[in-house]
């Protein structure tokens, strides 16, 4: 026992000493690293500012100065990437050609493309992210090649990068061809479509017919925010789908169009068997509904499902003239409807 205990004593004593030393060394390393990074950051910011302000004639000199300073240092490249990304999408888009020359001469493009072949997945993901953020279009093929990765995070970042590069055909192909294999969440795909830089309408039309119901639902949800009237025929078509999620996405997308011409379709959906569909239709009528919706919403305010009642009451009060109509319900006998209306009216004060 004593011998083993002595070993343990040495081990724990050794561990404590190692940890103590490591804490001190880590602190010192962190401290000096922070200082050094701050210095590099300042210097590169100055150089990049002169690049930004440079005239056409001065530009080459500014690029050369940055390239000379960055040299082969990965750390300086990372800082420079950070500085460029921080300028924002608008700057990157409007200075695409100038920046492309900077990427080439500083070796940023080669550096990031090389990251895509790293053995470590997070480096690949990071490479994709930066290639997308910096809009380095010549890297599209290299990013495309990552679609075979077994790591979901890499695929997600590769798709995000492709979306940021904005080629609708390329992204549509990837989404349709790989929809069975890519296991990304609903919202992850929505995010990818949201950051897509190209024509979302074109991407939608290229993809929707060839997609399964899952992807159709996502596409419609992503497109809804952009209020493309031209896509309304698709939304209306999928109201008849057997897939509940697709139906709900279509209802919401129609509602987002805020066009009373689609009110009739939404009113029809209030009769659906599924309460989630009724709730979505009731909610969507708040922007699309007119006085023609009052009676149907009054009826829905007494629906057996709480969410349908709540949404119907909220929409009824939101539609112009609806508050007066809703006041009638307050004198009615339907307690559920009465409560729903009172709640919504008090919140809307």
């Amino acid at each position: 026992m004593t011998k083993q205990a002595f070993y343990l004593l040495w081990i724990s004593g050794g561990l404590i000493s190692v940890f103590f030393l490591a804490i001190v060394v880590t602190w010192l390393y962190g401290h000096f690293l922070t200082k050094s990074l701050a210095h590099l950051n300042r210097k590169l910011n100055v150089l990049f500012s002169s690049f930004k302000l440079a005239t056409h004639e001065e530009e080459q000199e500014a690029v050369t100065r940055i390239a000379d300073y960055v040299g082969r240092s990965p750390r300086k490249k990372e800082i420079l990437i950070g500085i460029i990304v921080a300028q924002g999408e608008d700057f990157i888009e409007s200075n695409a050609e100038r920046l492309a020359r900077l990427y080439e001469q500083t070796g940023i493009r080669t550096y990031l493309v090389r990251q895509l072949s790293s053995k470590r997945d997070y480096i690949k993901a990071l490479g994709c992210r930066y290639l997308g953020d910096l809009a380095i279009k010549p890297a599209e093929k290299d990013i495309h090649a990552l679609m075979g990765s077994s790591n979901n995070d890499v695929i997600y970042h590769a798709l995000l990068a492709l979306a940021k590069l904005g080629n609708p055909r390329s992204l549509a192909e990837v989404l349709v061809e790989n929809s069975d294999r890519i296991s990304l969440s609903f919202r992850a795909v929505v995010e990818i479509l949201t950051v897509f830089k190209g024509s979302k309408e074109e991407l939608f039309i290229n993809t929707i017919e060839r997609s399964d119901d899952y992807l159709k639902g996502i596409l419609i949800k992503a497109a809804a925010d952009y209020e493309f009237e031209s896509l309304s025929s698709y939304y209306i078509r999928y109201l008849d789908s057997d897939n509940k999620n697709l139906k709900i996405a279509s209802i919401r997308a129609l509602g987002q169009l805020k066009n009373a011409a689609f009110e009739v379709y939404l009113l029809e959906m209030l009769r659906d068997q599924e309460w989630e569909v009724r709730a979505a239709a009731a909610k969507s009528l708040d922007k699309t509904g007119t006085s023609k919706s009052f009676a149907a919403l009054e009826k829905m305010a007494g629906d057996p499902e709480w969410w349908v009642r709540h949404n119907a009451a909220a929409s009824l009060v939101a539609i112009p003239g609806g508050k007066d109509y809703a006041a009638r319900i307050l004198d009615g006998e339907d307690q559920f409807a009465r409560e729903a209306i009172i709640g919504v009216m008090e919140r809307s004060v």
Binding site: M1, T2, F6, L8, L15, W27, Y122, L126, G343, E346
Partner: protein
């Protein structure tokens, strides 16, 4: 008499082996945590999570804040919640029949007026006395209800919540601005996620203004510093490693997020218990494993919730007693899961670990402090063994704390000055010379008073956050 001596001897040897085993187990947990934390940091480096801050596609979330006699901290807490970086969320403060001015302070500070609003009663709760809002703060809603305990308040909040995910946050806690986005990202990335816990850190000594932590400092109060070391160890190593095994049993009541529908299916929080935060997780594990569903319950070391630690021994005693009673209550409640292969890693590894090391551990350690000196005094144990037991108990215990501080340095580096870091190191070493033994006594007291106190929370004095009063200099 012979058997008594034999008992002392064997028990002393058992204590030595037990102490070594528990420390090896904890250090093993640390190794798992190191791997997990580095994986997480790499992922966050590649992640573009800030983009989600203003994303309409981010899942909306309801924040539930049960408040009972929290007049000193509640306004700061609400301000911190109102300043969160998140696109769509609501804050539901549930005043659980406070006897102080919690309710009036909130109403006054945020100009709230009583409204009438129907509530979907998914869970049974004590009577709701009133709902208060102000259109100026449209995210904020105050629920005033009859006292029913924290669990009942959370259930009332769930009933009132609009969104599919809810987060529960203690009223004496402050969230970092990006905490919510990092937490909910897990629900977004992986739909199998049903609950996520965030790290809780101690705010004592740090300066908080307008609900934001503006300066982080190690407190002067020694009890609070010991707890900083304890929290680093518990969260950075303990919970991170259990999360890696998908068998975390506690998501701190101070900060956690849940899939609302699954919680409602489980019947919500269990009332009349003081370990409702552990109960809900045990319940979720049991339900999902009974129904053979795949699910994930995770812990994230990055989203940060700042909380106040007790600064007096009296309050510390109340807290530790309560924690131990809550643990015992839950382990008894779910004893059918213990060593039951049906419950996988949870039943075969984590629950036995909690029984063996977390529940019984303090008792064995306490008895060790009595029996080993006795065995030495009666000549049953060599001086060497006696000395080495105490050295190992001290050193191995300290390695874990030192390792956690190192992990913190490498990963999040919240304590930036050299002085603060060295102070933590010093307290990590001192912790095993008195503080740890004291908390063991409190935990044993909890076990002894289990029957009498299992339904009573006890009260802990809350101080205002440093710098939270107007005119206070940072």
């Amino acid at each position: 008499m012979y058997y008594f001596w034999k008992f002392i001897l064997y028990f002393s040897e058992f204590c030595i082996i037990y102490t070594i085993a528990i420390n090896i187990f904890y250090n093993g947990q640390m190794l798992i945590s190191v791997a997990d934390l580095f994986g997480y940091l790499k992922k966050m480096k590649a992640s573009d999570y800030k983009r989600y801050v203003n994303s309409k596609n981010m899942v909306p979330i309801s924040i539930l804040v049960p408040a009972y006699n929290e007049e000193n901290t509640i306004v700061d807490n609400i301000k911190s919640l109102l300043a969160l970086n998140y696109y769509e969320y609501e804050i539901i403060i549930v005043n659980d029949g406070s006897t102080d001015s919690t309710r009036d302070k909130i109403i006054r500070e945020f100009d709230l007026v009583q409204i009438s609003q129907p509530v979907k009663k998914s869970l049974e709760t004590k009577e709701i006395l009133g709902l208060y809002r102000n259109p100026k703060y449209e995210r904020l809603i105050l629920v005033d209800k009859v006292n029913g305990g924290k669990a009942d308040a959370l259930n009332a909040g769930i009933n009132l919540s609009t969104y599919p995910i809810f987060a529960s946050i203690d009223a004496d806690s402050i969230l970092e601005n990006d905490a919510l986005i990092k937490l909910t990202m897990l629900f977004v990335e992986d739909p199998e996620t049903i609950a996520v816990g965030g790290i809780v850190r101690i705010a004592n000594g740090s300066v908080i203004k307008e609900g934001k932590l503006v300066k982080m400092e190690i407190p002067k109060n020694k009890i609070a510093v010991f707890q900083i070391v304890e929290y680093l160890r518990a969260f950075l190593t303990g919970r991170t490693s259990l999360s890696k095994l998908n068998s975390i049993l506690i998501i701190s009541g101070a900060f956690g997020a849940f899939n609302k529908s699954v919680v409602i299916e489980c019947g919500g929080y269990k009332t009349n218990t003081i370990g409702e935060d552990m109960d809900i997780i045990m319940k979720l594990h049991k339900k999902m494993l009974d129904e053979k569903k795949t699910y994930k319950i995770k812990f994230l070391a990055d989203p940060i919730c700042w909380t106040q630690a007790p600064e007096s021994l009296k309050d510390l005693r109340v807290q530790r007693r309560r924690w131990q009673i809550g643990l015992f209550d839950n382990l008894l409640q779910y004893k059918s899961m213990l060593l039951n292969p049906k419950y996988g890693k949870v039943g075969m590894v984590t629950i036995p670990y909690y029984w063996l090391f977390e529940l019984i551990g303090p008792v064995v350690e306490f008895l060790g402090y009595i029996f080993i000196p006795l065995a030495y005094l009666f000549g049953l144990l060599e001086f060497n063994s006696f000395l080495i037991f105490f050295l190992i108990a001290f050193l191995l215990g300290s390695t874990l704390s030192m390792g956690s501080i190192l992990l913190e340095q490498i990963s999040f580096r919240k304590y930036t000055t050299f002085g603060d870091t060295m102070r933590l190191v010093l307290f990590a070493l001192l912790e095993n010379l008195g503080y740890r033994q004291l908390t063991i006594l409190y935990r044993i007291e909890g076990l002894l008073k289990f029957n009498k106190s299992r339904h009573s929370w006890g009260t802990i004095k809350r101080e205002k956050f440093k710098g939270s009063e107007k005119g206070t200099s940072a």
